[in-house]
């Protein structure tokens, strides 16, 4: 196998962009019509993912130590889609046919051999990782909705019971699929530390135009079914650290941090914890009541709510205002006001802009080194 020949050929083919993936899937479905049902109706997102994954693999084809873990994770991820060993040769045949079609007269027997060898290797690593994963965990978990709480017109808290224990670390997330939007998987963080009864909480915010979040927020009812993939994610508590903890949550970015906070409450000697919970407006602080309860219960915990888009007061004269301690300003500003944060581990989760700005402020002047910060953003993964 000649890595450079593969890269050059892929670069040439990839110039055709979306058309390549379109041809690939059409070829796959014409040859194997039964595979069409494994994909959503709209395929544009799927095609982008395919091209990105292929590009990623081809670019690292001569760097196996980096490539193999990526392919292994790909293999494990595909279990929940119902992909099994017999599908791999079918995908391989259509991939080679696509590459041949777009290479035109540049296609040679050597290239065909190179691609066959490369694909066989990728398929082998994916299948082996999937098989190994199958020894310890199911391809997916079925879940039943135990409770739905609409906290605001666009925010819901769901409690879901998986059909068997779903072991995870607080801060991790799972891909969710609802029957009303089959084949659309979206990642959501568990908002609680593992419980005896295995139930899981999810905080969902409706994203305008998001096909899955709208169903989760507006249509879910007790007794509804969902499917969940294996837990993933590296935003987890550094259990080896004895430092004090700073948690900064924007909107439903609260979910993983609340799970970690619950984990801390179970420690025999909890560190001091500051939790900042921010939103644009007061009514979007959807979980403040529960956080305040926790803060009253545990002397080592301080909860600081913050709103960025509302002026002081809310239209009523001063004597009607409750002293609820809500601070005004963006999260980075409010966090800075309470700093510096030397000797703290910081965990930050929320919208990308909020996370970026908070991390920047923490590392420049607030005394937290980048290596002491763990962060996660939600982008289009939760639509």
């Amino acid at each position: 196998m000649d890595p450079q020949r593969l890269k050059d050929n892929f670069a040439q083919v990839a110039q055709q962009g979306d058309a390549v993936a379109l041809f690939f899937y059409s070829d796959l479905f014409v040859r194997n019509p039964h595979l069409r049902d494994m994909f959503p109706i709209g395929m544009s997102g799927q095609r982008d993912k395919l091209l990105r994954a292929l590009g990623h693999i081809v670019a690292r084809v001569d760097d196996l130590p980096t490539l193999v873990p990526f392919i292994q994770q790909l293999g494990r991820d595909h279990r929940k889609f119902g992909i099994v060993a017999e599908h791999y040769p079918q995908v391989g045949a259509s991939l080679i046919a696509t590459l041949q079609y777009y290479s035109g007269s540049d296609w040679t027997d050597e290239l065909a051999e190179d691609w066959n060898a490369a694909y066989s290797l990728v398929a082998k690593v994916m299948m082996e990782a999937a098989d190994e994963d199958a020894l310890s965990s199911p391809a997916w978990w079925n879940g039943e909705v135990l409770a739905v709480e609409r906290r605001r017109f666009d925010i819901a808290v769901l409690r879901i019971l998986p059909d068997r224990p779903l072991p995870y670390l607080p801060g991790q997330s799972v891909a969710l699929e609802v029957p009303a939007r089959l084949r659309h998987w979206r990642y959501y963080s568990m908002a609680n530390a593992p419980r005896q009864d295995n139930s899981l909480d999810f905080h969902v915010r409706l994203v305008d135009g998001g096909p899955v979040s709208s169903v989760l927020v507006c249509q879910m009812q007790v007794g509804d079914r969902v499917r969940m993939g294996a837990p993933i994610g590296t935003l987890t508590l550094d259990e080896s650290s004895t430092r004090d903890v700073l948690l900064v949550a924007g909107s439903t970015g609260l979910a993983p941090l609340k799970a970690m906070l619950e984990q801390i409450t179970r420690r025999p000697q909890p560190p001091r914890v500051h939790m900042f919970f921010g939103a644009r407006t007061r009514d979007a602080l959807y979980d403040l009541e529960e956080l305040s309860k926790l803060a009253n219960e545990f002397p080592w915990l301080r909860v600081v709510p913050a709103v960025s888009d509302e002026s002081e007061g809310h239209g009523f004269s001063p004597f009607l205002q409750s002293g609820d301690g809500v601070e005004h300003g963006t999260l980075p500003d409010v966090v800075a006001r309470h700093g510096p944060w030397n000797d703290h581990d910081a965990y930050v989760c929320g919208p990308p802009e909020m996370v970026d700005h908070t991390v920047e402020r923490l590392t420049t002047g607030l005394g937290v080194g980048r290596e002491r910060i763990r962060q996660e953003t939600f982008v289009d993964t939760q639509r």
Binding site: Q15, G17, A19, L22, Y25, S44, R47, G209, G315, E353
Partner: protein, 243 residues
């Protein structure tokens, strides 16, 4: 990081309609600096449609080229098996692109609808807050005026009483406590004023609040009715079962 989440496109690959569709620009900071959101959105839609068009035309051209090529290579004509396969692939591709376009349109429609509803909600809330503020101000103004007049009346009544007392005789009781009475008298007046203020304030506020809440309730009822009506008109498709 201040750039929008522009798709990661390496030098060799092309921007796809799907990638363009998922671009999210970050919100301009308070004070509304930056581009007009609607204009940006419309432009993105325009570019996305153009891209789809270009890809379609390109696919059609490539198809035409390969058809001509086969013809040149095989002048005898006929439709070999590979041609039939490519034709099927092409038909399926076109169907898929049509489906993608419909899905994207539907998503865009709900996104814009949701966005508008959100703006609407914010406008209603702001309006309600302003109203509440005006109510409170009005209640305060009226209550203050009435309290003032109550104090004035009390003072007049007291002056009249003092005049009456002066006409008759100075009692030992008044003599004995004359010095100490100044403060309680002030306090009493202050409290009278405050009671009158609070009574009026709460009266005015209650009246306004009641009529406002009734109006809100009517709104909610209308909303509920129209939602039920629309749900009846558009029944949900049965949800397919999980595998």
């Amino acid at each position: 990081m201040n750039s929008p989440n522009l798709p990661v496109v390496s030098a060799e690959t092309r921007l796809s309609p799907g990638e363009l569709h998922s671009v999210v620009f970050q919100r301009a900071a308070l004070g509304r600096r930056g581009y007009d959101e609607d204009q940006v959105r419309h432009f993105l839609q325009y570019v996305e449609r153009e891209l789809v068009q270009i890809f379609n035309e390109k696919a059609a051209l490539a198809e035409e080229v390969s058809r001509l090529r086969t013809k040149v290579a095989d002048p005898a004509g006929g439709l070999p098996a590979t041609d039939a396969h490519f034709a099927a692939v092409r038909i399926l591709s076109q169907a898929q692109q049509t489906a993608d376009l419909y899905v994207a349109d539907a998503e865009r429609y709900t996104r814009e609808l949701g966005h508008e509803a959100r703006m609407h909600r914010e406008a209603i809330l702001t309006d309600a807050k302003n109203r509440a503020e005006r109510l409170m101000e009005e209640a305060h103004r009226k209550a203050a005026a009435i309290a003032d007049s109550a104090v004035r009346q009390a003072e007049e009544a007291k002056a009249a009483a003092v005049a009456r007392v002066g006409e008759t005789a100075v009692t030992p009781h008044v003599q004995g406590h004359g010095q100490g009475e100044v403060l309680p008298e002030d306090e009493r007046r202050q409290m009278e004023r405050e009671i009158a203020y609070l009574r009026t304030y709460s009266d005015v506020y209650r009246t306004h609040l009641r009529s406002y809440l009734e109006a809100l309730l009517r709104n909610v009822n209308e909303w509920e009715n129209s939602e039920q009506a629309s749900l009846r008109n558009a029944p949900q498709p049965p949800a397919p079962g999980l595998p």
